[in-house]
Amino acid sequence: MAEIKLDSLTKTYGPTQVLYHVHADIEDGEFVVIVGPSGCGKSTLLRMIAGLESITTGEVSIGDKVVNGLEPADRDIAMVFQNYALYPHMSVRQNMAYGLKIRKQPKAEIERRVQEAADILEIGQYLDRKPRQLSGGQRQRVAMGRAIVRDPQVFLFDEPLSNLDAKLRVQMRLEIRKLQKRLGVTSIFVTHDQVEAMTLGDRLMVLNAGYVEQFGTPIELYDRPATIFVAGFIGSPAMNFLPATAANGTVTLGNGVSLPGADGVSGPVTFGIRPEHLVPDDTGPIRVCVQLFEALGANTLLHGVLEGTETAVVVSLPGHVTLEPGETRSFSAPPAAQHLFDSDSGARIEP
């Protein structure tokens, strides 16, 4: 068990910088998800913590120890890879035992720990099979088993669910969460899937182009996104962004409609509102021309444009609603659900 400290980590490959001064204090037993689009540097960051990638500047500490100079094997970590990286020529049992064998654990101890891990993951009956004889979900479990059998201080997960089909992914997601809570091992999980990130993490680190956009709990990220990027990345369907101008405590949208806004802000801003926060209101200020709609059963998604503009707007309406393309609907936006961002920097403007 250990806390992890990332102190001003940077990474450059030749002339290209892929990570900029990443700071994080991860508590003992915490489950942190690093999320971001592909190419944002999240896997690189994880691999730097694992010791598979060199650290350009900054420090990684696990427990109280700076591990920059340590080999991966000496960092007391275990990693689950995207393609599982099971040794194809070894049985499940041998796969799980390999790391312990190298560490010269006694045979009986290895046997006991493999059995224990197999019981936890319910893969006891596959122990003598080869990885190719297992289904994707079973391989995933073996990969997990290989990690927990070592009883490490830290689990690192590198998009371990992305090779599974959608249904299995949801199931494994829950199992990983349960397992992590049960074992209480500090974990870092990398994914590009924001739903996975929201459901798994105690805290989320949103990475974009090498910068940490925000590091906080899922609800913080949802309620108070620090940047336009986070606002657009977290939540599905994505937040609506409407170009607007702020002056004298009001925000004026592109079609001239004004809404009460923040004091002390003036100039061009971006007005953000989540599709599920627009409330149908015949007298509401936000009028949307319907282009098409998607009936999803539990809710209906309206796709349209803000009246008088070309700005796309999506509204999530509860239940079944029948809409006519071409008609105009009115909505109001509760002040608590409104977000304002600086148009240039993308930073959140607190009301």
């Binding site: 694992a50 080999e71 970590i77 995207q82 393609n83 990286a85 040794y87 390999y98 560490r103």
Partner: protein, 283 residues
């Protein structure tokens, strides 16, 4: 088959059977030649059907001192020499190619590319184009008439190195990362992970290299002057020369048969590996 044309199918079988017969004809003649007594093999036309002397000839050839009037060693000894040479070449080539491919793919070290290109150059220097100077090197090192002299100059191999490099490159990076997290050092990773994962490629290459080694001709011809070091493939030429004075075609044919049977058995028994080896090394 796309459509049903019995005529074309029958034609195909006829052509193929004719082709197989044509390809097999020289070996059939050899087999027939090896099954008659020496006197019968001097009367034209030679027989087309096997005689009853096969085992007599086999015994005489295998254990005897080759032809009358030549100074060859017994055939069994030459076959043994061929076997040792083929095994040393195959195992040696595989071993040094595995090691250098491993270094080139999994380590970053100064001169890595230099080593790579140096190995590449060997592709362009077949023994045939550097016969004399290589012979001089072997002579200077005192390696004439030795198994080492027969094999070591032939075991550097660009093709085998490139093949293993290709194999290693297709092994996912995560294998190494996972092994490193498991605490495996470089040699441990090589033994525990890399070698088992390359097993079929090694076997396939072995089949090709065994044939290559067994069939060496020019190099053993130069290096071995001692009859006891001669390989069976080289001895054929000696026998053909001798046959100009005293033809003993039954013995020559039997020797030829014995010289080609081991590699042919290897090809047929390990056909799958053979095809894999041939197509993957791309020569």
């Amino acid at each position: 088959m796309v459509e049903n044309r019995p005529f074309v199918t029958i034609l195909a079988h006829l052509v193929l059977i004719f082709g197989v017969a044509l390809v097999a004809l020289p070996v059939w003649i050899t087999f027939v030649g090896a099954s008659h007594d020496g006197a019968r093999m001097l009367q034209a036309p030679i027989p087309m059907w096997p005689g009853d002397q096969f085992f007599v000839n086999l015994r005489q050839t295998f254990l005897g001192n080759g032809l009358d009037g030549t100074r060859t060693a017994p055939v069994w000894m030459m076959m043994f020499n061929s076997l040792v040479m083929a095994m040393m070449i195959a195992v040696g080539k595989i071993a040094i190619s595995l090691l250098s491919a491993y270094a080139i793919v999994y380590f970053k070290f100064p001169f890595r590319m230099g080593v790579f290109w140096m190995i590449f150059i060997t592709l362009m220097l077949p023994v045939e184009v550097r016969i004399l100077p290589t012979f001089e090197v072997i002579a200077d090192l005192g390696m004439l008439n030795s198994y080492w002299g027969l094999t070591v100059p032939l075991i550097a191999s660009a093709t085998a190195t490139f093949m293993f490099r290709q194999v290693f490159l297709t092994i996912p990076d995560e294998m190494l990362e996972s092994a490193r997290i498991d605490g495996a050092g470089p040699m441990r990773f090589f033994w525990d992970i890399l070698l088992p994962l390359s097993r079929t490629n090694i076997a396939a290459l072995f089949v090709i290299l065994f044939i290559y080694g067994w069939n060496q001709y020019l190099w053993p011809l130069l290096i071995t002057t001692d009859a006891n070091m001669m390989t069976i493939v080289v001895s054929i030429k000696q026998m053909l020369e001798a046959s100009e004075q005293t033809p003993q075609w039954n013995i020559i044919m039997m020797t030829a048969l014995l010289a080609m049977v081991p590699p042919i058995i290897v090809v047929i028994a390990m056909q799958r590996l053979f095809v894999k080896g041939l197509t993957e090394t791309d020569k």
